[in-house]
């Protein structure tokens, strides 16, 4: 069957071809019978409605600006200086002040997580300063802070 149409039709290749055709006919009849049953018994979902919805959706998405996949920058949400639905505006780093549950100190909310990480002694970079010499501890934690700020710019 890999040969083209002009190859001589040997009895063996004819037999192979007729076998394939028979199998293909059987498979087609199987699928036709199943689909006929599904359609007659009312089991198919409204496939047309689904196709239509998908068509509309694809058309809408394709008609967008090329940056459409990046939903974060679209529309009203992208501009963080604009007022929110309650008419409020907020700074990029949250200015709310919370009291740390670990040490009790007031911390700016936008910087709470890095503070807590060091405060609780968790995380890869921050380690409790008491376990090593004070110099080494200071170097490591300051490196960690720099590293984190560099790698994860977006909040």
């Amino acid at each position: 069957m890999s040969s083209s149409n002009d190859a001589p039709a040997s009895p063996r290749s004819q037999l192979v071809l007729s076998c394939f055709e028979e199998l293909l006919d059987l498979a087609v009849a199987d699928v036709a019978s199943e689909c006929h049953r599904i359609a007659r018994l009312g089991l198919d979902r409204s496939v047309d409605a689904e196709e239509e919805e998908l068509r509309l959706w694809a058309a809408r998405v394709a008609g967008d600006h090329p940056g459409a996949e990046d939903g974060a920058t679209r529309g009203a949400g992208g501009n963080k200086g604009a007022p929110d639905v309650f008419g409020q505006t907020h700074p990029a780093i949250a200015a709310d002040v919370v009291d740390c549950m670990n040490c009790g100190r007031p911390v700016v909310a936008g910087r709470f997580a890095p503070h807590l990480e060091k405060c609780m002694g968790k995380g890869r970079k921050a380690r409790a300063k008491t376990t090593r010499s004070s110099t080494a501890g200071r170097n490591r934690s300051s490196n960690g802070e720099e590293h984190s700020n560099h790698a994860f710019q977006e909040s």
Binding site: E21, E22, R37, G75, D84, D96, M101, N102
Partner: protein, 559 residues
């Protein structure tokens, strides 16, 4: 999609059912091959042939046997048999390889409930022979119908004027001062914590979870695990933190009516005390966080229940009650048809995001050609679910050991949903981690998802029924999963999207409240239209059962 219903029979089928002897004799000829394929053979080794066809011609794909005289013929000779047969009543035949009825006079396949009933019985007998050593699922042993929900009589109720005044004054959504729905409040980013904020927003507005906490079902002032909020020095005291209590506090804060952004600092602190391996100042995966807090809530409050329950039973804690469903996994030997079934509880469904079919709808606009083809990769949630419940072939190294054949055989594995949770969370696997290439990447393809979702095609009942030919009246199949009366319609209420790159990205949650979509980007809550949500890159989708989803009522006509 409902249970199959028999269409009205054609005149010939109706006449045949009245005048001919019952189809009982057909049952004796019904033989079931592995994987449930029924066929009609008088003798196990019979090879049917069409007598009118010349001996040398290609065998036809379908052969029919007349129900009255058992003559075998092919479709091209069907009409002549019906017309020329000596006695009337030779119009109805049966496809010998597929056990489907055929009306030779109409030239079309027809359906009869009694015949399907016989086929289903034969299939169940073949699948679970009475003397088999394999144990069928224990639920199938009972002949009783599956547990029906008790129905209560409907009683009409109308409020009196005093009640109307009370409700109107107390309801923040209808009182004049409230412009926006209750519980809508921004969450401050505490430093790369958008993954936490996005999941919290979705949880805050999951109806059953919201109702649980607002209904004071877990009171943080009465919780036994609560220790006074003092400086905790020992680990023992630190581990007494209860995530459910902290969640209760967030509910109180966000539904208080206060609209300035809230800082979920205590929640972060409590979570870090529990999930020590994830506790660090860096971006986390929102889905991992979601699973982590559900797990810890379970650990915190499972002991509050009087009896201990199996996980997945749903009664151990509110997290399972809301999110836990049951997945069914069937492995079927293609050689002998023996199937082994396992059930596992799941808190969400993780779906692969393939590149999806290319825009086979016929490109409606000329733009995609000008672009790099990004927009032509369209996957849909329903197709992902179809793929999830598709029968997968296990062969080569993955051959399964069949207990009946006592050797490894090529098998089919198929997943389906046995029980749907109150809230279905779908996690779209956008982050690929390849150990081979030693790299991770994010899959950016867009995903189409519906706002109303019918999960019926993915239930075990539907999957089982279609596996055995979609026969009418499957109620007597011995597998209790074959019948399903459970509600399966869902409405979306939250979408968590991820934008940006793998390790430097941003999570945003879209919430649907009172039929209006809101975008919750940390502290910034804004209104958006449907279109923005549909074209966003969904990472986690939250659907709630339609019966628990309250559609917004008109403000003026409230109460």
């Amino acid at each position: 999609m409902t249970t199959p219903s028999a269409p009205p029979p054609c005149a010939h089928l109706a006449a045949h059912r009245l005048t001919s002897r019952p189809l009982r004799f057909l049952r004796r000829c019904l033989r079931v091959r592995p994987l449930g394929r029924p066929e009609i053979r008088r003798d196990a080794r019979e090879v049917p042939r069409c007598s009118p066809c010349p001996a040398s011609s290609q065998p036809p794909p379908r052969l029919y046997a007349c129900l009255t005289c058992a003559t075998v013929f092919c479709p091209s000779h069907a009409a002549s048999h019906a017309a020329s047969a000596p006695a009337p009543g030779h119009q109805i035949a049966v496809d010998v390889d597929r056990a489907e009825l055929f009306c030779a006079a109409c030239g079309d396949q027809v359906y009869d409930p009694d015949f399907d009933h016989a086929v289903v019985l034969a299939q169940s007998t073949a699948l679970h022979p009475p003397s088999a050593s394999a144990s069928p699922p224990s639920a199938s042993a009972s002949p009783a119908a599956p547990r029906k929900r008790r129905r209560v009589d409907y009683r009409a109720w109308a409020p009196d004027p005093a009640e109307v005044a009370l409700v109107r004054s107390a309801d923040p959504t209808t009182s004049a001062s409230a412009a926006e729905p209750a519980g809508l409040r921004g969450l401050n980013n505490l430093g790369n914590t958008c993954f936490m904020n996005s999941v919290l927003q979705a949880l805050l507005h999951a109806p059953p979870l919201r109702n649980y906490f607002l209904g004071d079902r877990h009171n943080r002032f009465l919780c036994p695990r609560r220790t006074p909020m003092r400086h905790r020095t020992t680990d023992a005291e630190a581990k007494a933190a209860c995530l459910a209590c902290d969640l209760d506090e967030i509910y109180s804060a966000t539904f208080s009516g206060e609209r300035t952004p809230y800082s979920p600092a205590k929640f972060l602190y409590s979570w870090w005390q529990h999930a020590t391996n994830l506790a660090s100042y860096e971006q986390q995966d929102a889905h991992e966080f979601f699973i982590s807090i559900l797990d810890h809530i379970h650990e915190n409050i499972k002991d509050d229940q009087p009896k201990s329950h199996e996980q997945g039973d749903g009664d151990c804690c509110i997290a399972h009650r809301v999110f836990s469903g049951i997945l069914r996994s069937d492995v079927i030997c293609t050689n002998c048809g023996f199937s082994s079934t396992t059930f596992e509880p799941c808190m969400d469904v993780s779906l692969d995001l393939d590149s999806g079919h290319n825009n086979c709808l016929g490109v409606a606009n000329p733009k995609p050609h000008a672009r790099n083809g990004m927009s032509s990769k369209v996957s849909t949630l329903m197709r992902c679910l179809e793929r999830f419940t598709r029968a997968e072939r296990l062969d080569a190294e993955q051959k399964y050991f069949c207990e009946r054949c006592k050797e490894r055989q090529v098998s089919l594995k198929q997943m389906s949903i046995r029980r749907l949770p109150l809230v279905s969370c779908f996690h779209i696997k956008r982050f690929e981690h390849s150990t081979v290439k030693k790299m991770s990447r994010k899959v950016d393809h867009s995903l189409q998802f519906p706002f109303s979702l019918d999960m019926t095609p993915y239930l075990s009942s539907s999957i089982l029924r279609s596996r055995y030919g979609n026969r009418i009246f499957p109620s007597e199949a011995c597998d209790s999963d074959a019948v399903s009366e459970l509600p399966s319609e869902f409405e979306i209420f939250a979408v968590i999207t991820h934008s940006g790159k793998l390790d430097a990205g941003h999570y945003v949650t879209y919430l649907r409240l009172n039929n209006q979509w809101y975008r919750c980007d940390d502290a910034w809550v804004t209104r958006v239209d449907e279109h923005t949500v549909r074209s966003s890159q969904a990472y986690m989708l939250f659907y709630v059962q339609k019966t628990l989803y309250y559609k917004a009522c008109e403000r003026a006509a409230a109460v």
